[in-house]
Symmetry: C2
Subunit: 577 residues, 2 copies
């Protein structure tokens, strides 16, 4: 019970001092979350208030089921973009249908994560490698930032890929060239400039004004709410709405009643792939944020339970009329830095957000959409970091290929193709590498019991004995390669009587490889050559012992390579005096 409800662990020892810390963190996080939630809803192609809906119940549910003490769950940039892309593909005409599909997506992603958690299948998330995620987030960041340019420039343009977006932006700029909407540009570009300036210099400025470092950093992170209030007041006082500035407009006050998503089997089928990708990407992001923060305090998180926590949060987002959520990096760091002691900080933030919803909704009418676009651009520019491409290039061509495929396909074909390409290329490249394993012909280092690669060391070898060390597990991807290699080496050595496979780096032999070994054994035997194994690991030997292979083996299994060579060398010397 405690495993599936981590709240039972920390809740029972909750102390008053922790409450004070948590409340302070909650206030700060709430102030930061309001503009971010509104903005990411816009990014997801949804009415801004849905961002608030997605920020309340999921936070509370995560506090009950999650294992991280600092993770803050809610709308995040990349998942919002993926939601927009998934729903756009359905080509729904009606805004209500778009909302229904986004809400359904949260439910499906949530169910998928809970299922993975209950089945302990979290390992699937490993298929998204670090470099692929880094490349994907950078590529998405570029698309998101460009996609919000029309919002701050007051032009018409859009598209889910660079191929669509860039020409559309150019066309939008051209057609607006004579009739620029200066209120929009002023608010949009001005807000963006302010946010970028604040991110870089505000904290230092506040320190110079006498604030302590930590408070200065936290306050500087709240600059979006300042922009929201300032531009809303400006729009109201100068009546900028009537001068062409797009405002959020009237939204229903309070929260919608809890509801179930639409049950339309065709829609479920159409969204299944997207839901799985959103779920896995959101999960991987959340876990890496949570792990990073936990390690700073020598705490631990349980990745399998995180699947359930994040899954339940997404289902909660769906019930509450929101859209897919994940653990965000920026918001979690603010939560951590503001001193959140337990997940109760999330519960409190959710309550405060709920209150805010009632009072803020009427004020939202005056909020310029350009402010939200500027908030998004400022936030995602921190995500764009091309250094992964250089790092991958320097370290390995395989990783470079995976990163570049991810980035290019994200740009050219969209976010889902990008993630899928990253996963598929990583797997293909891994299989390619392990399908041609490093195999060394080894010989004895004179005067020792060590056996090393003949190409790297001066070693003793014999015409009658071929010793091969395979530096890879033997499995279906490389079993034929091994067969081929052995036949080739054997064909070149007419005096050969023994082949010794040194298995010190063989961690597994699957059934394909076993069949290859059987074939190798019998074909070598036909040619009068005996096959031996040495240094077979315990678990591999256990598996081999369940088969007839060891009885059929023409040679022996030696504990060490040295034993094998001494023994075979002696017997060969006797046989051919």
């Amino acid at each position: 019970m405690n495993r599936y409800l981590p709240i039972l662990n920390w809740g029972r020892q909750y102390r008053a001092a922790q409450f004070t810390d948590d409340l302070l963190a909650a206030v700060i996080v709430t102030v930061m979350l309001v503009p971010q939630s509104l903005a990411y809803a816009l990014l997801a192609g949804l009415p801004p208030e849905m961002g608030l809906y997605a920020s309340i119940l999921p936070l509370m549910v995560y506090a009950v089921f999650g294992t991280s003490r600092s993770l803050s769950v809610g709308p995040v940039a990349v998942v919002s973009l993926m939601t927009a892309a998934a729903v756009a593909r359905l080509e729904l005409a009606d805004a209500a249908q778009v909302i229904a599909a986004s809400t359904l997506l949260a439910m499906m992603a949530g169910l998928f994560l809970v299922l993975l958690g209950l089945l302990r299948l979290g390992f699937l998330a490993n298929f998204l490698s670090h470099p692929v995620i880094a490349g994907f987030i950078t590529a998405s960041g570029v698309i998101i930032a460009l996609g919000q340019l029309p919002g701050i420039l007051g032009i018409q343009a859009g598209g889910q890929t660079l191929l669509l977006l860039v020409p559309s932006l150019v066309a939008g700029l051209q057609s607006a060239a004579g009739s620029l909407n200066w209120p929009t540009i002023t608010v949009g570009v001005g807000t963006l400039a302010y946010l970028l300036w604040a991110k870089r210099y505000l904290a230092a400025l506040l320190v110079r004004f006498g604030l302590n470092q930590r408070l200065a950093v936290i306050l500087s992170r709240l600059s979006p709410i300042v922009a929201v209030i300032a531009t809303a007041v400006a729009a109201w006082s100068l009546d900028l709405g009537s001068r062409g500035l797009a405002l959020v407009g009237d939204v229903p006050a309070g929260l919608p009643a809890l509801s179930l998503p639409v049950m339309d089997s065709e829609l479920w089928l159409a969204l299944a792939g997207s839901a799985a990708l959103i779920a896995i990407l959101g999960f991987v992001e959340s876990v890496s944020v949570a792990q990073g923060l936990a390690a700073r305090r020598r705490e631990r998180i349980d990745p399998d339970q995180e699947l359930i926590g994040l899954g339940a949060s997404n289902m909660a987002a769906s019930f509450a009329g929101g859209f897919p959520v994940a653990g965000g990096f920026a918001r979690s760091v603010v939560n951590f830095d503001a001193g959140a002691a337990t997940p109760a900080a999330g519960l409190l933030a959710a309550l405060l957000m709920g209150l805010a919803t009632f009072f803020l909704m009427p004020l939202l009418a005056w909020l310029p959409k350009a402010t939200l676009s500027a908030t998004i651009i400022s936030a995602v520019l921190s995500l764009v970091d091309f250094s992964i491409v250089k790092k991958a290039w320097q370290y390995s061509r395989a990783d470079f290929l995976a990163v570049c495929s991810t980035i290019l396909l994200t740009w050219l074909e969209g976010v889902e193709a990008g993630v899928a390409a990253g996963i598929i290329v990583s797997i293909l490249v891994h299989m390619y590498k392990s399908s041609r394993p490093h195999v060394a012909i080894v010989g004895q280092v004179p005067g020792t019991e060590h056996y090393r690669n003949v190409e790297r060391h001066e070693v003793i070898t014999y015409d009658t004995i071929l010793s091969l060390r395979v530096d890879e597990s033997l499995y279906f991807a490389n079993s034929r390669y091994l067969e081929d290699l052995i036949y080739r080496e054997v064909a070149e050595r007419p005096a050969l009587q023994h082949v010794v496979l040194m298995c010190s780096a063989v961690n597994e032999i699957d059934l394909s490889a076993l069949e290859s070994l059987e074939a190798i054994n019998s074909r070598l035997a036909d040619n009068g050559i005996r096959l031996h194994l040495s240094e077979v690991k315990g678990p591999v030997m256990d598996a081999l012992e369940t088969t007839h292979f060891l009885q059929a083996l023409s040679g022996q299994v030696y504990l060490s390579q040295h034993q094998a060579i001494s023994d075979l060398q002696r017997s060969t010397a006797i046989a051919t005096p």
Copy 2:
């Protein structure tokens, strides 16, 4: 040049003695191929004469480009079934369209193989593991055999999956219950009984009549042609066609002119996946047959060149109005046993088949389709072998899962789903296993320099030093698992000062794993623990040296685990007296 045209190698040394051997083999293979080719065309849902078209030009082209001296290329059972399934999915109404699609499929499979060969991507074929292929062929064999029952029983039934086929067979039997067509049943069941009997007993009988063993075996393999002639004569003399026995009927004499397949982009797109599966399956089958036969004579084949050889054969099949081909097991073994010395045997067989086409076509009119169905059933029953299921169960649950998924999906969803399931499950299972690698905590075997698993041996360990041996390459699938495991072990050891990763079985560290190691290193350093590596392999060390990791490493890289422990034990002993 010689690499891409193996004929230049053997052709230049061709001798008269080889010609005699090749000619004899060609005659025998031709006699065997005629009924088989007709039958497999029927299995592919095509007019029988297309089987002959697919048996002539491809054989000649393979003789030029292929590297196996014994492989006989032409229509084979499983590929024919896959062709039928791929084309059936298109739901074409017109027989001419079905023919065009099948011919196109051969062209696409051929292009795909040639492309793989030129790009040296033959490793992709490794994704089809031995057990998956064995399971797939067995499952397909069952479907093929059941699918031909209507042919020998004279009832109406059909379907590409067991779910469709079995109910259809039951319904067909019920509706035909009162009105059985006895000529069809007699010819069909009689031929089948004869063929099964001949396969089992004819060779022994011939030996008893004084023939030598080899000749008896070869003659017994030719029993299908006896059945073809006998039943055609019976159909003609007794005029069974007018009594309800389905005959092949008039077919155009001679060969069609060479032609290009239809260039319809929609059709190409619809068939692309099927073509790739057919190509890979045909290739894997051909290579394993060719490798088996080559090894018997201490010869070698070149798998990359085989891609080109088989690809060119498929393109030739398409030009000649045939359908996808592969290297067949039965026909290649007959070719080998009949003494084929060089690929010229294939060239000669092709010429004989071409001649036969002119003379046989008019006679085919009287050939009962039931005879061909019986030939197919008899041939595929040899392919059905469920022992792989038992073997996989005994050896490893992972392989068992892959085999069972393949068989079940082949039966329930069809051949393409079956192959795809086999590939995907194999990869998933492999990734699952390597995502939770075997990690042993190791200690020193007293009095030696060996370090072994603390759970399997009595060894010396220290409170201040944790030594872990990871029995797997470190890559994206397991890098997070390693992080998690190390943090867990560290959290349990308050006195810990050093972690030593023993990398003797780590054959690769990819960029994901490198980033994990960087994270582990810095988090351990935050907690005052140093990270060391030992026994890092040459290629892995080379890669690490291109990065900043070794500079950032809080500890050292030791050549041997024993050096690491001696050194750390000494320094710790000094530090904490």
